[in-house]
Each structure stands twice: as structure tokens, then as C-alpha cells.
């Protein structure tokens, strides 16, 4: 098998000039790599694009996916353009003189304040709109934290297990024990401990919620990579002498991303809910004047019996957004499931 000790072969397609500078044995290895990739690509490429294109077409026909996509799209538009949509400053207590929580006097929806005022006389609509941006930020960053570290651990374990031989399986074993350890810690308790010990802030919430998701992502990616490792195209690439690192990164990994991407969509929903839970426990952003749906919800619970709408708006925001991401994720999972494909 024409393997090569060269550490970093040129990845760009070879031009005539580059060909002359590269020593012969490297060129040969490179050509083998390219050949394997072309063959792999024809299979994985047409197959892979086909899977995603087919999934997209199936999703276009699914009412679940459309509902989810619409909710997510509306949420994204509100979150991204929130300063333009908000009618007032979310922190301005301009109507403070009209609200008396002690006497149960609240102001409901009216022409100038579309959703009424909160307990400090701030415009509820503007706070909801600006809060959407914070909520999106928490969800996305927490999911990214979980995704990145989880994919790193899971990818390492999966690649080692598939291609690393006996030593690789040992590495896989050690990494999986660490994952098991993290899985044995209850998610929310783990997040609470992290958040409580590092100190309350929005960053803490994002990291805490993200860390709790790491073992799930890791297990998913490792499982997918191991099942891909038994496929013919991996065997073909190995037979053609493609370097192991390249097989893992350009062949197995892209084909294993399906479940991980589905999980990311679902995690966006869980992250938003978990972040709200941490805010409720008082571990969120200590600056309560800056709106975030979780913080707003936990603040409003004091007035749940006298002014339920103060809690219902942020709660509905969280529920609907989480529902949107969940619907989208579930539809994606169904669309990608080979068992359901006809």
C-alpha cells in the first residue's frame, strides 16, 4: 500500500507548476488520494447530495416542517432586527407612575403599549422583542458549545475506534468512559453547579447549558462514525491507500453529520428552556433591567395571580420558539430516516 510519511500533502488541486516542486513519492500519494476521493465523491457526492436534496423535498411537503420553519423564521427576523422593531427602549420606565404592583394595578394592552406595561412601567412589547435577541444568543451559543466539544470528543473516539486499530480502540474506550462520567451527572444539576459556582451571568448560563449537551453530541457522532466505518466506501478508500486522517475527515465525518445536525436543531429548543430554568433559579444575567425571556418569566412569577399576562408573554415566547425548533428538528429527522424513505 502506497502510504507516505509526509505530514501535510498539498490539498489544492495540482497545477503543472506545483507538480514539479513536489517530490515524486508525495505526488504519487496525492494522486492516489485524489483518485480515492473522486471515486468516493462519486458515490458519497451524488449519494450525499441526493440524501439532503431528497430530505429537503420531503420536508417541503411536511406540514410539521413548514410550521417549524415559519416559527423559526419569524423568531429569527424578530431577533435579528429587534432594535428596528421595538417601539420603545426596553429599559425606559417612562410609564412608571401608572403601575403599582403593591396595589395590583397593572396596565394591559393599549394603543401606545401593544402588550401593556411590566411591573416597573416598561413597555412589554419592546422588552419581548429585544428579549428575543438575547434568547436566540443563549440558544445558539449554548448549542455551539455543546456541538463543538461534543463533536471533538465524539469525532476523536469514533475515528480512533474505526481506523486506529488496537490503540485506537483504547483511546475510544478512555474517551467513552469520560463521556459516561458526564452522562451520569444529571444535566440540570450539572448546569446549576457550574452556574452557581462560577457566578451568575449570561455567559455562565450559555456555558453551563452547553456543557450539559456535550456527552449527547459526542455519543451521537461516535455512533454514526462507527456505523459509517463499516461501509464499503471506507473499505475502498483504505484499499486505495488513502491516509487514515483523510478518510476520517473527508469521507466518514461528512457522512456522519446527519444525526448531529438533527440534534443541534433539537438542542436549540432545550437550550432555550434550560437557560430559562437557570434564570429562574437566579443564575442568569444579574442585570435584570436587560430583558431575556427566562429572566422576564421568573420576575413575573411574583405577579402570576394578579397580572398573569406578564408571565404568559415570555412563557409563550419560550414555548413557541422551542416548539418551532423541535418541529423543524423532528421533521428533519424524519426526512433523513432511511426507514421512512420510500
Amino acid at each position: 500500500m502506497p502510504t507516505t510519511p509526509s505530514p501535510n500533502p498539498p490539498e489544492a488541486p495540482d497545477t503543472a507548476g506545483a507538480d514539479e516542486k513536489v517530490p515524486f513519492h508525495k505526488r504519487k500519494a496525492d494522486k492516489v488520494d485524489r483518485l480515492a476521493e473522486l471515486m468516493g465523491d462519486r458515490e458519497a457526492g451524488s449519494h450525499g447530495a441526493g440524501v439532503w436534496r431528497e430530505a429537503f423535498q420531503r420536508m417541503r411537503r411536511s406540514p410539521m416542517a413548514i410550521t417549524g420553519a415559519v416559527i423559526v423564521a419569524v423568531f429569527l427576523v424578530i431577533a435579528l432586527f429587534s432594535p428596528l422593531i421595538a417601539t420603545y427602549s426596553p429599559t425606559s420606565q417612562a410609564w412608571g407612575g401608572e403601575v403599582f404592583p403593591n396595589r395590583n394595578e397593572f396596565v394591559g394592552p393599549r394603543a401606545e403599549n401593544w402588550l401593556g406595561l411590566d411591573h416597573l412601567g416598561r413597555d412589554m412589547f419592546s422588552r419581548m422583542v429585544i428579549g428575543a435577541r438575547q434568547t436566540l444568543l443563549v440558544g445558539v451559543v449554548a448549542t455551539l458549545v455543546g456541538f463543538l466539544f461534543g463533536a471533538l470528543l465524539g469525532g476523536l473516539a469514533g475515528a480512533c475506534s474505526v481506523l486506529g486499530g488496537r490503540w485506537g480502540r483504547q483511546v475510544d474506550n478512555v474517551v467513552m468512559r469520560v463521556i459516561d462520567m458526564m452522562l451520569a451527572m444529571p444535566t440540570l444539576l450539572l448546569a446549576v453547579t457550574v452556574a452557581a459556582l462560577v457566578g451568575p451571568s449570561l455567559t455562565t448560563v450559555m456555558i453551563a447549558v452547553g456543557i450539559a449537551q456535550v456527552p449527547i453530541f459526542a455519543r451521537l457522532l461516535r455512533g454514526a462514525m462507527i456505523s459509517q466505518g463499516n461501509r464499503e466506501y471506507v473499505l475502498a478508500a483504505q484499499a486505495l491507500g488513502v491516509r487514515k486522517r483523510r478518510i476520517a475527515v473527508t469521507h466518514i465525518l461528512p457522512n456522519s453529520m446527519g444525526p448531529v445536525i438533527v440534534q443541534s436543531t433539537l438542542t436549540l429548543a432545550t437550550a432555550i428552556i434550560d437557560a430559562a430554568a437557570l434564570s429562574y433559579l437566579g443564575l442568569g444575567n444579574p442585570d435584570a433591567s436587560y430583558p431575556e425571556w427566562g429572566t422576564m418569566l421568573s420576575e413575573a412569577q411574583r405577579f402570576l395571580s394578579s397580572a398573569p399576562s406578564l408571565a404568559v408573554y415570555p412563557a409563550l415566547g419560550i414555548i413557541i420558539t422551542a416548539l418551532g425548533f423541535t418541529l423543524l428538528g423532528e421533521a428533519l429527522r424524519e426526512a433523513l430516516d432511511p426507514k421512512l424513505r420510500k
Binding site: 462520567m181 451527572m185 428552556i273
Partner: protein, 334 residues
């Protein structure tokens, strides 16, 4: 089978060992130790140092860890800094509350989720199916503490039909034998205690059941649908077996396998204590105690409780695997 169990138990040792080292190193590295939480703000640096020394926190980390390990092997998980009582005692004081709550929630979830999921699959595409799927999605997406608050406001504060806090009404006398209120009441035939304790379990149990209920409904539905499409179900129908026989012996028995796993894992996570539900309903369980311990930097409690919870979780996993092999002959054969 025995070899399998022994091997799994042996695997527990590195997992828990690693977890204990991780917890130990991580907790001690964090800013603001117990000397800040336990002493008043105006305490001098000498006072803080003296407290650290008396707690053994000035020793090298490795020495502290070895001491900790030696104590664990003797069944001593340390003493709570806050209550000055052994961590193990604190755990067993609170575990019964959490256990009763978790069991209540699981009973709600299984009793409603299993039939609902099965019916939704049988009547696929009907209003019932739509409602079950939609309802379970909604259940997953609703923050537990919000649901708990709604239940509390509606049923306890507005309607006043159910109690909203603690395990028992204050002033109720009872005989304590095991710490499990309902069990004690049954054993001593103090029926008023039993009824009172059960009434206190309804609202937190319902709130805690929301997510397991949604998960079980969805899993049962998906699993039954899959099994109903199998060849052996068609064969059984074709050879003229009675409908009920096919449904119970062929469909349900096979469809419930993955659900059993899910129920086990969900129960495992509930025993860890429901921080949110317990704090809304002032329920004196594990979750609220650990949350309190994070506020006061009670290291022994945090380390001890998390280790105990992790051990419990791994044991429940083992039980799930064993029950799985008992239910599924294919797994047993391997």
C-alpha cells in the same frame, strides 16, 4: 449473565473514580471557597485561613483527595459544612422525599403515556393521534417551573383543592420508621398521614411528570408503529390469530422493549432530584438541597451527593440492561 453484571460493576470503579477526581479538582479551583460563604463579610484574612486549615483545605490537593478516598472506603463521605452532619445522613434524610416524588411522577407518566402512545399509533392520522403528538411536543417545550407555577396558582391558590408546599401538612403527627412518609403511614395504618402525603405529591408529581409523559407517549407511538409494520405481525394476522393475541403477544411485547429502556433512564434522571419542581413546591428533596449547597460552597455535600447520584444512575442503567436481556431473547443469546 453473572459475568455481564460483574463486568458492568467493575466498569463502575473507573467511572466513579474519575468522576470523584474531576469533582474534587474542579470544585477546589473555583473562586470563593467555604471560608467566604461560612464567615461574615468582615472576617479577617487570619480567620479565613484558620477556617481553611481546620477544614483541611490548606493541604495539597493530592493529600486531600487521598484522605477523602480513605474515608469513602470506610463509608464516610465527610461532614456537611453547613449543617455539621454527616453527608450520608443528609442524603438519606432527603432521598425518601425525592424517591416518592419521582415514583409518583413515573406512575403518572407511564399510566397515561403508554396507553396514549399505543392508541395514537393504532389510530394513526386521527384527531387523537394529532392531539397526542401535539400535546407531547408541547409538554417537551414547556418550561417545567412555569408549568409547576401554573399548577400551584390554579389548584392550590385559586381553587384551594390541593396543598402547594412540603411533604405533609404542618402539625400532623406521624410515626417515622423508614423516612418514606407514604410507606410509614401504610405500615402504621395512619390513614390520615397517607392521604395527606399523597395529596402533597399530586401537584409536584404532575409537574415533574410532564417531560417523561411526553417522551413515553412519543416513544410508545413510534415503537408500536414500527412493530405493526413488521412481517411477523402480518404473518400472525394472515394465519388468523385473534386480533387481541396479535396486539398483545406480537405488537405490544416487542414494541415495549425500547420503552422499558426509556422508562428506566427517565426514572434514573428523576431520582437525581428535580431542582426546579422541588424549589417551586418547597419540597425537601435532594435537588433543592444540592442547590442550597452550591450557594454556600458546601464542598463535601456537593461531592458526596453528586457521587451518590451518579452511582445511583449507573446502577439504574445496569438494572435497565438486565431487564432488557430478560425481556428480549435476542439480547440474552449474545
Amino acid at each position: 449473565m453473572l459475568r455481564f453484571i460483574v463486568r458492568r460493576l467493575l466498569q463502575l470503579i473507573p467511572t466513579l473514580g474519575g468522576l470523584s477526581i474531576l469533582l474534587f479538582v474542579w470544585l477546589q479551583r473555583l473562586p470563593g471557597g467555604p471560608e467566604y460563604a461560612l464567615l461574615p463579610d468582615d472576617a479577617t484574612a487570619e480567620q479565613r485561613a484558620a477556617l481553611r486549615r481546620s477544614l483541611g483545605l490548606d493541604e495539597p490537593l493530592a493529600v486531600q483527595y487521598l484522605t477523602f478516598l480513605r474515608n469513602i472506603l470506610q463509608g464516610d463521605l465527610g461532614t456537611s459544612l453547613q449543617t455539621s452532619r454527616p453527608v450520608l445522613d443528609e442524603f438519606f434524610l432527603r432521598f425518601p422525599a425525592t424517591f416518592e416524588l419521582a415514583v409518583t411522577a413515573m406512575i403518572f407518566a407511564v399510566a397515561v403515556g403508554l396507553p396514549l402512545g399505543y392508541l395514537a399509533a393504532r389510530k394513526r392520522g386521527t384527531v387523537l393521534d394529532f392531539a397526542a403528538v401535539g400535546g407531547s411536543l408541547l409538554g417537551i417545550c414547556t418550561p417545567v417551573f412555569f408549568l409547576a407555577f401554573i399548577l400551584k396558582v390554579v389548584f392550590a391558590e385559586n381553587l384551594g383543592v390541593l396543598p402547594s408546599a412540603f411533604r405533609l401538612s404542618p402539625g400532623l403527627s406521624r410515626t417515622d420508621i423508614t423516612g418514606f412518609v407514604v410507606l410509614d403511614g401504610l405500615m402504621t395504618r395512619e390513614w390520615d398521614v397517607v392521604m395527606d402525603a399523597l395529596a402533597h405529591l399530586v401537584l409536584p408529581g404532575l409537574a415533574l411528570a410532564s417531560i417523561p409523559l411526553a417522551v413515553i407517549t412519543r416513544m410508545t407511538r413510534a415503537s408500536v408503529l414500527e412493530v405493526m409494520g413488521e412481517d411477523y405481525v402480518r404473518t400472525a394476522n394472515a394465519k388468523g390469530l385473534h386480533r387481541t393475541t396479535v396486539r398483545t403477544r406480537h405488537v405490544l411485547r416487542n414494541a415495549l422493549l425500547p420503552v422499558v429502556t426509556a422508562v428506566g433512564l427517565l426514572a434514573g434522571s428523576l431520582f437525581a432530584g428535580a431542582v426546579l419542581t422541588e424549589s417551586v413546591f418547597a419540597f425537601p428533596g435532594i435537588g433543592s438541597f444540592v442547590y442550597g449547597a452550591t450557594q454556600t460552597r458546601d464542598y463535601p455535600v456537593l461531592t458526596g451527593f453528586i457521587l451518590l447520584i451518579a452511582t445511583m444512575y449507573v446502577f439504574i442503567n445496569l438494572l435497565v440492561d438486565i431487564s432488557y436481556s430478560l425481556l428480549d431473547p435476542r439480547v440474552r443469546a449474545q
